[in-house]
Structures are given as C-alpha cells and as structure tokens.
C-alpha cells in the first residue's frame, strides 16, 4: 500500500491549536500538526518530558484536541502499553495509541522500555522526534546529537562521538514497520503515519526536527535546513517494512538522480558546527559518498 497524499488531500481538521508554546520556527510544530492530522481525533497520546510537553501547554491550558497522558521520562513506551492494555481490558476498539517522545527520551533514557514494548509486540505507534539534543533543558548532547555539534555540555570541541542510529536499533527487534522522515517533508511524514497504522505491533517513526535555537539558525529556515540534511544525503527518508529497506520521497529522488549536495552546505548553514574543521567535514563527506555509492550499486544490481 503506497498512498500519495498531496497538499489538497490533507484533512482540514486541525488537532493542534494555533498559539501553542513551541519556539518560533520550531519544526516539531509542523511534524506534530501533520502527524495528528494523519492519526485523527480517535487517538490517545503519551508524552514524556520534552519540548512537546511545553508545546502542549501549561495547566490548565492545552494546545491539542486529543487526550494526552504526560508520563515520566523513561516510560513512554511502557505507558503506551498500559493505555493499550486498559482499552483492551475494557473492550474499547478503534483508538490509536501513540507514544511521542524526543531523541533523549527515546535513544537514551527511554530505550529500555521501548525495546521491551517492541519485543512484546504491543500494538501502538511510537514516534521519536529527533532535534538532536536535549533542547528543552537548554541544548545538551544526546545519543542522537551528531559528531561535531556544539551543545551546552560539549561547549568547545563539539560532540566527539557519532550519532546513534535509533531506527536501526529498533528495526533489529524485527518489528513490522520502521520509518524515517523529516518535518521538512510533511507529505512524506503524513503518508508514513497513515501507513504505519496498518501494521501490527510497535510501529516506529523517526522524524528529523531542525531546531532554530538549538542548532543556531534563524527561525525562518527550519524547512530549508531540514531539506539540506536530506539533499546532502546526511539524513535519509526511508522505510523498513518487514525488514526490507527502501528510500522514499526526496531521498528516493536523490537515488534516481544520483546527485547529492555537498554536506558542507548543511554544516555551514548552522552555528552548532562552527567548531567542525573543514578536514572533518571532508571525512564526513567521504563517508556519506561511500554510503550512497553503496545504495547506487545495489540499485544497479536490481536493474
């Protein structure tokens, strides 16, 4: 099943109110709005502490029109299982249960409970919105912060370690559907949410979320920076369906055109990579080129 949604066929109903508490230019605002359009009003969402907690509002005001359960940092996936178990025990059907956590809440503190839920095969959608750091607490490094990025606790040299590949970790559980997408490509995101709901067990969607204050770019450039991440081949739009990897949307186009933008364009568009020397960027370029050449070759094999 591959549905292609266009801007005219998106549902008009808004489940996120305007005037929420996200920062100016926050790409999570896009992803959350479009994601909830795909999920629809028959949804219960589970949220750990993260930028989304703030976006959703301070008591007693809420920015979303779906029921939301705020839970402790490490327990998003377990809490989603709990909601699911309660609905099942009460014979309530047709409600989407969704855990929606940040990259710290997923790749670091929440990984154990997510792994447990994947292994048990609990039937919910897990969304990781990846703004590549603990942005809500003031931009500290997380497991998914890329190498070289300056954060509040990697202040001079930038992070020394590589980004953790969370979707590969989750895919290794053998779940039916894993997808990566970006807030810069809302229609790709929408289609993946829709598609995810057709699978059983835990479905995992990883969303790349450019963060103006955390990454050091002006608020009007979140989509531009998000697109650069994809067009340089650094972040890939993809799906792993029953273990089979395929690229989608803009990443699929890159594959067809076989032409990537230089990674330098992405790094130099943000302040957080100011300490990353040109030599290091060259090395990253070599790795990205090599990875994509691998994709091109496997495409040649098929053709």
């Amino acid at each position: 099943m591959q549905v292609k949604t266009n801007i005219l066929s998106l549902p008009e109903e808004e489940l996120v109110h305007p005037g929420n508490r996200a920062c100016a230019g926050c790409a999570l605002g896009i992803a959350y709005r479009i994601g909830l359009k795909a999920l629809g009003p028959e949804t219960i969402i589970v949220v750990p502490p993260s930028c989304l907690t703030v976006l959703q509002g301070l008591y007693p005001v809420a920015a979303t029109k779906i029921p939301s359960l705020n839970v402790t940092f490490a327990s998003t996936a377990a809490a989603a299982t709990g909601v699911l178990a309660a609905l099942k025990a009460q014979g309530k059907e047709g409600i989407n249960v969704v855990g929606w956590a940040g990259d710290g809440g997923t790749s670091d503190i929440g990984l154990q409970s997510l792994s447990g839920a994947c292994e048990r095969g609990d039937n919910f959608l897990y969304v990781c919105y990846d703004n590549e750091g603990y942005m809500n607490t003031g931009v500290q490094r997380s497991g998914t912060t890329p190498k070289g990025a300056i954060t509040a606790n990697t202040p001079y040299k930038g992070k020394l370690q590589q980004k953790k590949d969370v979707s590969a970790i989750i895919a290794a559980h053998g779940i039916e559907y894993v997808a990566t997408t970006s807030a810069a490509y809302p229609l790709d995101l929408y289609d993946k949410f829709k598609k995810a709901l057709s699978f059983g067990g835990v479905k995992y969607i990883h969303i790349h979320i450019p963060c103006p204050p955390g990454w050091g770019f002006a608020p009007q450039y979140a989509v531009k920076v998000g697109k650069l991440a994809v067009e340089t081949g650094l972040f890939e739009l993809s799906e792993i369906e029953h273990g089979q990897l395929r690229h989608t949307g803009a990443s699929l186009k890159l594959l067809e055109k076989r032409k990537l933008l230089p990674v330098r364009d992405y790094f130099r568009a943000q302040g957080r990579f100011n300490a990353l020397p040109d030599a290091e960027i060259e090395k990253i370029q070599e790795n990205v080129t090599k990875r994509w050449e691998g994709y091109f070759e496997s495409l040649d094999d098929i053709e």
């Binding site: 009003p41 028959e42 949804t43 219960i44 589970v46 907690t53 703030v54 959703q56 509002g57 301070l58 008591y59 007693p60 005001v61 809420a62 979303t64 029109k65 779906i66 029921p67 939301s68 359960l69 705020n70 839970v71 402790t72 490490a74 327990s75 996936a77 377990a78 809490a79 989603a80 299982t81 709990g82 909601v83 178990a85 309660a86 609905l87 099942k88 025990a89 009460q90 409600i95 154990q112 409970s113 792994s115 447990g116 292994e119 048990r120 609990d122």
Partner: protein, 403 residues
C-alpha cells in the same frame, strides 16, 4: 472457602477476586510466586485481565499508571530493589491520584545484596503519598488486598499492601477465600470520574505553575501547591474512610474491627511492645511468657502506617508507662521511623500532661537475621522495668560482632 496456601497465593487470590483488569509485573524474589500465580490464572482463563510481562519494575508501574489513567483497575507487586527502582513512578502515581494497588513483599535492600526479609524497602517509600497497610498473616493479606482497592478508589490515592517476605509470602497457612458474589457486592467495578477518552480530550499531569491560574473560561484553577495540599487532605481522609470500609467488610465477611492497630493484652498493660507486620504476632508469644511471670505487658501492631493514624495511636498508647518499638528498618542516622512517628504523635497530645510514656527503640531482623524468641524475651523483659534502658539511641538485637 478455607484453603491452605502461601501468603503470595493469598494476595493473588485477592487480586483475582478484585477483578483487576491489568496486571504488569517484573520478577523479583520473594514476590515471584504471587505474579506467577496471576499469570497462571490469566493465561488459564480463570481471571479476565491483561497480563504484561515487562522489562523492568519502572515499566511495571508505568503500565499500571497509564492503565488506571485509561480507566482500568490495575495491580502490580514487587520487593526490595524493584520497589526502589519504581521510586519515581511511585511518586508519580500518587501525584496523578491513581487508585492502584501494589503488594510489597518486604525484603531488605542492597547493598550488599540480600533476598531476605526486613522492612527497609517499604519504609523507604513512606513519604511518597501512598497509603501503606501492613498485614500480619495470610487472612489479612487477602482481606487487606480487597479493602485496599475499596480504599484507593474512595480517596483516589494508591495503596501498598505490605507483607513479610518468606515469613508470610512463602509459608503456608489456612485462610478463608471470600465468595466471589460477596466480593462483587463489597467492591463494585472501578468507575473513575475521568479516564483518557478521545470524546473528552484532556491533558493529564501537565506542567503546572507555582501559582494558581485562570483557565480559558476565566475560572481559577489550582497551582502545584493546591494540588499537593489536596493529596495531604485526602490522605488524612483515608483514615476515617478505612474505618467505614473495614465496617462494610465486616458486615459482609464477618472479619475485621481493627482497621488501624491491633492490640493484644494491652488493656491493663504497663508496657506495650509495638511493631509492624508478622513480628507483632511473634511478640504475642513473648507477651504471653512475660504475663505468666506477672509482668503486665501487651503488644500492638500498626496496620495502617500511612496515613499515620496519630490520634488513634496516641490515644491507645499514651496511658502506658513505657512503649517498646521493635523495627525491621530505620532512618539511617536517626532511629526507627515507627518509633519517631509514635513519639511525634504522643508529644503533640501529651506535652502539657504530667505523664508521658517512655519510648525505646529496638532494631532487629535486618536482611533476614533470625529473630530468636529468647532474644525478644530478654529485650522486652529488661525494657519492662522503671530502671530499664531509656534514651533515643537504637538498640540492636542479635548483632554478632567479634574481636
């Protein structure tokens, strides 16, 4: 129906009779036979519930918190380090005002590792906003489990049912299993005022500001401090609520009458021993021995430890000459918490009185150290004299240091 079973099975049968809808559990000794029994009842079709075998205690309580928020009656059980690993979730469940019930099969905490019984695990969770009930035998385990759901749902505060690892969890005793129809009469299905529902969206446990705030209609709503004050008020309201529930329980099942404390030979006693859990029944033997020698001594067990029924305890204990508090846990750097709490309750009510009982505090049985009856006899006997030990230092029974 009378059966002979272990304390863990008594708890499991209580959970089954309470028609719990969601069980989540992670194995830890000595809780395991309880949750194994539940998985057996559920998988075998004898109990209609969802059983989630989780990857940690933190997740076990996460599932119960979420399931209760979504309208299901939920249960988990743990011991020792499992309980400590839940600590964050324990506070969350209380703050979120979720009426879930957890059995704590009491065990000492590491380090060093111990699997044996003491009370340090549940005592360390004393200040989390949970109701704590301690059972003294198997009948009390099953009865208290049923009453715990009634109490939790009455005041919307979670309840720990605590009972001694091995001493109760793994020993076999006869007890009565209440009839299903009578339990249904005593404990109707869980009907929360709100549960997660797409037709009535709400954002639960949201970030809450220090001060009060208007909602979108312009009405004032609570700040964090009002919400926490209400938890304190409702905890205190659990004291009379437990009495009503105990009376209802007695009317249906014929058992009960001691919702807060259980005194034994205390009416004319000059001295009263006080403790939590099965140790208080052990002390009954010692009291009988001393009574035979003409020493006027009794023993009182504290069944409801949080909320602390201070008035009831002070009234029951203030007239005696001395109180001897035996504890299997302590607040390191001071003394046993029960002794502190009893002194605090007495002080508020006797500070201007000519007579106040002395309170002495024994620590014993940590990490399963054997509690020998002769040791209890000796300690209690030498405490039951006007010239006996006094002061607030803890006296440790059964220590074996050697040169």
């Amino acid at each position: 129906m009378q059966v002979i079973e272990s304390g863990n099975v008594a708890a499991a049968l209580g959970v089954k009779l309470a028609r719990v809808q969601v069980v989540a559990a992670y194995p830890i000794t000595p809780q395991t036979p309880l949750t194994e029994k539940l998985s057996e009842l559920i998988e075998g079709g004898d109990m209609e519930a969802e059983y989630v075998p989780v990857e940690s205690e933190h997740s076990a309580l996460a599932i119960c918190i979420a399931a209760t928020s979504a309208g299901a009656r939920s249960f988990t059980a743990t011991s020792a380090n499992g309980l400590l690993y839940m600590h964050e979730q324990i506070q969350w469940a209380a703050g979120a005002r979720l009426p879930l019930v957890m059995c704590v099969v009491n065990r000492g905490v590491g380090a060093p590792w111990t699997v044996w019984n003491d009370h340090q695990d549940s005592i360390s969770q004393r200040d989390t906003g949970w109701i704590q009930l301690y059972a003294n035998d198997h009948q009390q385990i099953i009865d208290t489990t049923l009453k715990a759901f009634a109490l939790a749902e009455e005041v919307m505060v979670p309840v720990m049912v605590c009972y001694d690892g091995y001493l109760l969890s793994h020993t076999y005793m006869p007890f009565d299993v209440p009839d299903r129809e009578l339990v249904d009469k005593f404990l109707p299905p869980y009907k929360p005022a709100y549960s997660l529902d797409p037709m009535r969206p709400a954002n639960l446990n949201t970030v809450t500001l220090p001060d009060v705030r208007r909602d979108i209609r312009g009405d004032m709503t609570h700040g964090y401090m009002e919400i926490r004050h209400l938890l304190q008020q409702d905890m205190l309201d659990a004291i009379p609520a437990l009495k009503d529930i105990d009376e209802r329980f007695k009317a249906v099942f014929g058992r009960g009458g001691n919702p807060y404390i259980e005194p034994y030979r205390c009416e004319d006693a000059d001295y009263v021993a006080v403790s939590l859990g099965s140790l208080s029944y052990h002390l009954r033997d010692v009291v009988d021995m001393l009574r035979d020698e003409g020493i006027k001594v009794g023993v009182t067990s504290v069944h409801l430890y949080r909320p602390f029924p201070a008035e009831i305890i002070a009234d029951a204990l203030k007239g005696h000459r001395g109180l001897i508090v035996f504890e299997k846990a302590l607040s390191y750097g001071y003394q046993g918490t029960l002794a502190s709490d009893i002194k605090s309750a007495l002080y508020s009510r006797t500070w201007d009185q000519p007579h106040r009982p002395f309170v002495i505090n024994y620590i014993l049985g940590l990490g399963g150290r054997e509690i020998a009856t002769p040791d209890l006899y000796k300690a209690l006997k030498e405490s039951c004299t006007p010239d006996g030990p006094k002061g607030e230092e803890t006296r440790w029974i059964g220590l074996k240091f050697f040169e």
